[in-house]
């Protein structure tokens, strides 16, 4: 970024830089000396584009231990979530119109469910426990004979809480309903073995894992009854499930990012854990601070803390040049307290004071140390102005 030296970016859960290798792979598919042909074309140049796409599909499939045929390319996790939820609900509506999800899902999940409610589908909204986890007994109790789809995210984008997808999937299988998982925050970061995980639909996006923005994928399990109705109609690309010219450079970018993620996953995990530990150690003694969600159930790339007697928007400004999030990046513009944190039982005021720190491969210990300084100073300064604390 211009004047990047000044900024301390700890918002990797919102988006990541593209890995230099990924950028290189993408560049090779764009300009006149590259493979820019339309992969729908049958001539040599078109078939070369297809080869690149097949290679990339293999890379993503390899990361997830599944077959390339199970992956559909989309424009991002938002589209994948919509295609999975609207598509499966419509395809299977004759089997029942009851759906189950959680209140702490991303809006790309909650909003399609709300759209389905308007089409007279019946949606059960489960609340998490105070630690952020789903109580499986509550899920079990919610499943009915006419339940056809459950959607539970893997890693929460605000708190980092990891749900137990395997056991949730087992429950769904027992009840004969499909499980969709929004894995936008976990693909390439936590091991996901689709050959053994009992899930049916999974949404992904590249830009959270050092790939480009605007490319995602939907996994559709090769099981009878697992299918979606398309949202878009057009040229017959992707077995008519998602037409449109395949954006070869974007797909190659996601593929390369997946391959890199696979080879670095355990190193990345160790690094993120160290960064979170360093940060939490540096601020946990501040009076009135607490994590949102149980830290031991959370993906280490995210640390979400609330603090008493501090207004969130002022905190964010006082933290500059630190780039962090309040609530999810996708609703930072609205000033309402995060519905995710509210669902964890946090008060409006505590929810509003939340800061989501998120770490990435480029994060260095000195970034964390700067963040600690900035956070401590901002809290001290704002508390110095607060009618409660100052008095």
């Amino acid at each position: 970024m211009t004047e990047r030296a000044n900024l301390v970016y700890l918002d990797y859960a919102a988006s990541t830089p593209v890995d230099p290798w990924v950028a290189e792979a993408m560049a090779a598919l764009m300009t006149a000396d590259g493979n820019y042909a339309n992969p729908s074309s049958t001539h040599i140049a078109g078939r070369r584009s297809v080869e690149h796409i097949e290679h990339a599909t293999g890379q993503l499939a390899g990361l997830l231990n599944t077959a390339p045929e199970c992956l559909i390319w989309t424009s991002g996790a938002t589209e994948s979530d919509n295609l999975a939820i609207l598509g499966a609900a419509h395809y299977r509506q004759d089997r029942g119109r009851h759906l189950v999800t959680m209140r702490t899902e991303h809006k790309a999940v909650t909003d399609p469910f709300k759209a389905l409610q308007k089409q007279s589908f019946d949606v059960t909204w489960l609340d998490p426990e105070a630690d952020g986890l789903l109580d499986l007994a509550k899920l079990k109790a919610a499943l009915r004979s006419d339940t056809q789809l459950v959607s539970i995210m893997h890693v929460n984008n605000e708190t980092g809480i990891i749900q137990d997808i395997r056991r949730i999937g087992e429950l769904c299988r027992e009840h004969g309903c499909l499980l969709h998982v929004d894995a936008a925050q976990s693909v390439g970061k936590l091991p996901i073995d689709l050959a053994t995980l009992p899930l049916d639909l999974m949404s992904m996006t590249a830009h959270k894992v050092y790939g480009p923005k605007g490319i995602g994928a939907l996994y559709i399990a090769p099981r009878p009854g697992v299918h979606v109705e398309p949202l878009l109609f057009g040229g017959g690309q992707q077995r008519k499930l998602r037409p449109g010219t395949l954006p070869a450079q974007q797909i190659v970018g996601f593929g390369a990012a997946a391959a890199i993620a696979q080879s670095r996953m355990s190193d990345d995990f160790r690094h993120l854990s160290a960064m979170r530990e360093r940060l939490w150690s540096g601020i946990r003694d501040i009076p009135g601070i607490s994590t949102n969600g149980a830290i031991e159930s959370a993906f280490p790339g995210i640390l979400n803390v609330s603090i008493e007697d501090i207004e969130g928007e002022s905190l964010l400004l006082a933290l500059e040049p630190l780039c962090v999030a309040t609530g999810s990046a996708c609703n930072s513009k609205t000033q309402e307290p995060s519905y995710v944190l509210r669902a964890l039982g946090r008060s409006d005021e505590l929810a509003q004071s939340a800061i989501r720190f998120s770490f990435g491969r480029p994060t260095r210990p000195q970034d964390i140390d700067l963040a600690i300084d900035l956070y401590r100073n901002a809290v001290a300064r704002l508390r110095g102005m607060s009618p409660e604390r100052a008095a």
Partner: protein
């Protein structure tokens, strides 16, 4: 930056709120509304305000507005507090419409403070 939600003036006031604090006296107006908590206090001297301070829990526009108000009134007649209108302030700070309610809380606090100061000086006389 063109899409900065805060004007240069708001940033300046927020970054260096020289009038943040409490005078510890009794001439203090506390108002809480619209999710904003504000406490304004004044030290008058012969009909003039010698010092004015604020404490606030609120967004940057609220803090900037409180700071601007304190800076403005120091050296002015305390009677003027009663006539305070937040309109100019909203304009000079480019307060977005959805936040105007919060700035009106400050208007309320200033006028309340004006009343407290007037009542106190009436007592003195």
């Amino acid at each position: 930056m063109s899409n900065d939600p805060y004007s240069a003036r708001v940033r300046e006031l927020f970054d260096a709120p020289a009038h943040a604090g409490c005078l510890g006296g009794e001439l203090c107006a506390k108002v809480e509304d619209q999710g904003v908590r504000i406490c304004l206090c004044a030290e008058p001297e012969g009909g003039e305000i010698r010092r004015m301070r604020f404490l606030a829990w609120g967004c940057p526009h609220v803090i900037a507005a409180a700071e601007a108000v304190c800076a403005y009134y120091e050296g002015r007649s305390s009677a003027e507090l009663l006539d305070f209108s937040a309109l100019d302030l909203m304009q000079s700070l480019s307060v977005p419409v959805e936040k105007t309610g919060r700035i009106l809380v400050i208007e309320d606090a200033v006028r309340t403070l004006g009343g407290i100061v007037r009542d106190a000086s009436n007592l003195d006389n």
